[in-house]
Symmetry: C2
Subunit: 247 residues, 2 copies
């Protein structure tokens, strides 16, 4: 197993697979590689994704979405025959389309897990336990490739759920992308009110629960929301209709 | 101490004050009185609020908002001199105004605590621990009355925070009332989408956190939102502006 990007999800996956007995090869910049080795989250690290692609059975792309798309192209040129590629990004149609164009044995993946942290420091082996791990096989990703990525998801403690990439992108707009926007907006609105902002410390567990996601990394989320703009807009319209009906 | 209404908040307060060594008198309908006695959440129970008002030092109104307003009038006619009255409702200006009109020594109270449950069965002694308990004294509620209700909040493990009733109602619109509407609307929208509704089970911890409040009792919340309509509308407008800016 090779994992490119040892952030919150990639780092957590490295820890979970290492704990499950897999020899994990990690790829990231030097400081993160050192941290991952020190934490024994990986068996070894390499500097370049191409290097990992030459020896791994399964290569997991766990960088931000735009970087994953570039990695896909770099890896495609060097992939050994039989390499299975998957990712852990929040939007599936664009990357599955690109992998198909490149002729890779690709299974888009999206573990419905995580926390509001980011980076290797926030990673934990247990975040996938009992969670759904959505799998969207590309044209060459059914059969053997899908079976391999299913095993990987199960080894991390998750429950694989097969879905069409377009369906995934529509569903997560409701279950993840609009909730993210709403969490930010709740905190923004309270901060913009001259009275509420002075009283934020009185907020109870309800507000804390509704604004936990607002701590998620904004740069990564800008990419996700831009990539899934059409579905996010559709889900946002549905949310606004529902809100008017509740008022 | 007498508590009228042994639901989630009243029942939790009865448990917390009993644990802190106060002799608590509970008032509710017979089945709830029996349950509270069986749980040793109260020292004794009485059937009528007037009875509790005749002997208590502090009377806590912990029924839904509209019932609290009626109770205030009933209690005012029978209150022994020196009785301090407080409540635990989510909107403060209307009840403080009514208590002032009735000439009661009243301190409006709002513990920023709870969970999405309801009724005595959902009550727990620990819900107030470390939470803010907002106190809005009426015209006759400063001084001795405020000190008594502060002691009560502290005995339950909370941190008393004094606030003007109008400021309270504005602030909680941002910190509680709009989040409640938003939590419902997120769940409504997902349920209204033909694809998302079939895939609700894949939702991760983010969606669960954002829709936890949607399990709160709708009848009680209709009352709260109607009572604080002006401030909720203002906060909702702020939220929608913030949402547009994030999109």
């Amino acid at each position: 197993m090779a994992i490119v990007g040892l952030g919150l999800i990639g780092g957590s996956l490295a820890r979970a697979l290492t704990r499950a007995g897999y020899p994990v090869v990690g790829v990231d910049r030097p400081a993160v590689r050192r941290r991952a080795r020190a934490a024994r989250a990986v068996a070894r690290t390499v500097a370049r994704p191409e290097e990992a692609a030459r020896s791994a059975d399964v290569l997991v792309l766990a960088a931000p979405p735009s970087v994953n798309l570039r990695l896909l192209r770099r890896v495609a040129r060097r992939a050994r025959s039989g390499l299975v590629v998957t990712d852990v990004g929040s939007v599936k149609a664009p990357i599955v389309r690109e992998a198909d164009r490149l002729g890779l044995a690709f299974v888009g993946g999206h573990p419905m897990a995580g926390n509001e942290g980011s980076g290797f420091r926030a990673s934990e082996a247990g975040v996938f336990r009992g969670r759904s791990w959505i799998l969207c096989p590309g044209r060459r990703g059914a059969g053997r490739a899908l079976a391999a990525v299913r095993r990987l998801a199960r080894a991390a403690g998750a429950r694989p759920v097969r879905m069409d990439a377009a369906e995934h992108d529509r569903v997560v707009a409701f279950l993840s992308h609009v909730p993210q926007l709403v969490s930010w907006a709740l905190l923004d609105a309270a901060r913009a009110d001259p009275l509420a902002v002075r009283r934020l410390t009185v907020a109870g567990p309800g507000f804390a629960g509704m604004t936990r996601l607002a701590a998620s990394p904004p740069g990564l989320w800008r990419e996700i929301l831009a990539e899934n703009r059409r579905e996010t807009d559709r889900a946002l319209a549905g949310f606004l209709r529902a809100l008017r009906r509740r008022r």
